[in-house]
């Protein structure tokens, strides 16, 4: 199986954008509730933590917005200068999909296009003011509709694989961030309430799965262990990494140990064969950050191997084409 390198890259990024929109909505949902309960003094710190975890402090500072609920949510949801905002992510996913129309099923395209059109039609400022939870629910549903349409209608070829690779890579990274932002607010050695942990689980859509596995016990080790290491829960970091690894193997069964697979395998094994206590006793934030750095390396290795592979094959005797400047944004313009 083979496909245009540009298409593979655009699909990979379409997957990342959709998952990013969904996970940003999840992060905001949980943070919004937390800062309400934290009270005004801690609210600022909660928001600042979120910015740091998303590596968006500088972009936010440049936006001139206030570090409060209104400033931060509108920045992360609707800011046109913020490449990670939900509106921009959906817009980019749709722009990529528009360039991939012939590769996507009509139903998948319609799901993406409808997410975009519905978001455009919403009064986002008012949503954020009056009922942010509804907006986040809308974004989550729209993204799940997209991924559902993909799962139900897309041929299981490399196009599907690159799309899902993007989803899994982004999800692994964002779940790390979700845990990180939460563990900053609720250090593992504090005495957390059930509410603290249930909120984290809820934001990862993990409440029911967790309760069925561990019963309703607010044990930080269990909660963190579940989100990091669960073999069965599809949003755990381990699960996403293993899925990404499997996808790469299906794309390229002959390749043996490519750079991207090597990094993924090492990350996956690092989680697979480690007890949760080790992760917690150690410096958890450092672990989470290391995981995010590795995800970045995976994305770079994937780009190098699949999106720019042809460069190495050229031994040109004729003139050759350079990509046109300014014709189109490359897929991967986001800082991760």
């Amino acid at each position: 199986m083979t496909m245009l390198a540009r298409h593979a890259e655009d699909l990979f990024w379409a997957g990342r954008y959709v998952e990013r929109a969904q996970d940003t909505a999840r992060l905001l949902d949980v943070t919004y509730n937390e800062q309400i309960e934290a009270g005004p003094v801690f609210a600022r710190k909660t928001w600042f933590d979120l910015l740091q975890v998303l590596s968006l402090e500088a972009t936010f500072a440049a936006s001139g917005r206030r570090l409060d609920a209104e400033g931060l949510t509108s920045f992360l949801v609707a800011d046109r200068e913020n490449p990670g905002s939900i509106v921009i992510a959906i817009e980019r996913a749709r722009e990529n999909a528009r360039g991939l129309r012939e590769l996507l099923s009509t139903e998948l395209w319609e799901a993406i296009n409808n997410a975009y059109l519905s978001l455009q039609a919403r009064d986002v400022a008012r949503d954020l003011d009056e009922h942010p939870a509804q907006l986040y629910a809308f974004v989550k549903t729209a993204c799940q509709t997209i991924l559902g349409a993909a799962a139900e209608t897309m041929n299981r070829d490399d196009g599907w694989r690159f799309l899902m690779l993007g989803v899994q890579v982004e999800r692994a990274e964002m779940t790390c961030r979700l845990i990180e932002v939460h563990s900053r607010r609720v250090p593992a050695d504090a005495h957390p309430t059930m509410a603290d942990w249930s909120r984290l689980l809820e934001s990862a859509a993990a409440t029911e799965a967790y309760v069925r596995t561990y019963a309703a016990s607010p044990d930080p080790a269990h909660v963190l262990g579940f989100l990091l290491l669960s073999r069965t829960f599809p949003r755990s970091v381990f699960y996403s990494l293993r899925a990404a690894e499997q996808i790469l193997q299906n794309i390229d069964p002959e390749s043996g140990m490519s750079e991207a697979r090597r990094i993924l395998g090492r990350m996956r094994a690092g989680l697979e064969f480690r007890a949760i206590d080790e992760l917690l006793d150690d410096d958890l934030p450092a672990h989470l950050e290391a995981l995010q750095t590795d995800v970045l390396d995976v994305a770079t290795a994937v780009a190098h191997r699949y999106f720019r592979m042809a460069e190495g094959d050229l031994h040109l005797t004729a003139v050759r084409g350079e990509p046109a400047e300014g014709v189109r944004l490359p897929g991967g313009v986001l800082s991760s």
Binding site: T2, M3, L4, A5, R6, H7, A8, E95, R98, G99, R101, E102, L103, T106, W109, E110, N113, N114, L117, D158, F162, I251, Y306, F307, M309, A310, D313, L314, H315, L316, T317, A318, V319, R320, G321, E322, P323, A324, E325, V327, R328
Partner: protein, 503 residues
Amino acid sequence: VTSSETHTAGTSGSFVLARDLFADYDVGSFFDEAAAPDGKPRSHYRTYLDAIGEFSLDELRRRARMRDATFRSRGITFTVYGDDAGLEKTLLMDLIPRIIPADEWAAVEAGLAQRVRALNLFLEDLYDGQREAVRDGIVPEWLVVSSDGFSREAFGIPAPGGVRCLVAGIDLVRGADGGFYVLEDNLRNPSGISYVVENRAVMNRLFPRITGLHRIRPVDHYGASLLRALRSVAPPTASDPTVVVLTPGVFNSAYFEHAFLAREMGAELVEGRDLVVDDHTVFMRTTTGLRRVDVIYRRLDDHFLDPVGFKSESMIGVPGLLAAARAGRVTIANAVGNGVADDKGVYPFVPELIRYYLGEEALLPNVATYLPWEPDHLEIVLERLDQLVVKPVAGSGGYGLVIGPSATDEELDTIRRQILEDPRAFIAQEVVQLSRVPTQIGDGVAGRHVDLRPFVLARSDGIEVIPGGLTRVALREGSLVVNSSQGGGSKDTWVLYDSGEMG
């Protein structure tokens, strides 16, 4: 609903039946395709009018909303240039189809095939032959070489099977006598076929019962037919040819169509930067390295194809592409240089070319045309400027058109001056009183002027005419300009099977 209820309900909406919308229908002094001059339905419209007559106004309104939602969510759009740059618009499809009976279509089909055959022979003669038509004085040489579409770069590029124009869009109109006339030829990158296919798909969704009452010749095989034609012109060395669609990119106004065609054919949709030429062979960049390309269905203009071959500044082309084509390692379709044959200054000579190459009389007549560079024509043109339509020879999309009867004195003065300055740049034609078809306007139905762009596919071994084509309709009352860029809409166009044919 009884008829008395219908009438007493008046304009309240819900009980008004579509049949009442047609009650006040004014045929006017034009050729109406649905109704005879006495207002009675023509036979091929009877089934349709009976069926649509049962719909209430509310039901029609609901269909209109469904139509709008469908077009928007499917992203069937074209992009507007100019003030609203980047804005995606849908081409409004009128709810009422245009219906063409089998016998009328058979005559049109034969005329189109004949015309495209002759135009291909002309192009091949010009670029890869002895230029016999020019030598024998059928078309003046100066006219050919002064055409913007004439391309020296096209010389020596082989066209397998002599197919230089693989996809042609021949614009037809029906005059006051009901006869079909050729208004212009589009032999470079005619667009609109995606609307033909999508209009039918949407129509089948909106009115399944009504379409089911008719035996309509299908159009959804276009992708397969196009692929077959493209593969037929592959370089002879390619045993299992790889076909790609080359687009300028997602910001092009016809991008939806490019993606549509690639999807329908199962071909890759590439941009210039996806292709690379190495040793006169064209490759696309894939996830597993370079893959050879044999046939390029390009949807960008000649000058953007290859910055080296055309010495242009363009960044969207493929350096070395023209040389590869000249080496016979790749086929570019439509071929380079076709613009010379759809130059409006060459158009008046097409009936002659048909006679010359095929020994046949043209089955589809041209519209009466005046050539301002001929002194006796110029005299007529200047004298009757306010009665004629003046067109730039190289234009398309209705840009630069001056319709004498509706032009202001200022516009007429300007065009008069332009004609005198550069007579070769214009032609003038008699105004055709375009035929009309019932069209939904507001909450009623009224006759509106239409034209027709049928699509003709040439293969190395034959010609296929897609039944019907894109009917464009001028939605403004009295307007004769149907171009989508000028406020026109479209209609699903039904060519019916002959009663004896199997559907």
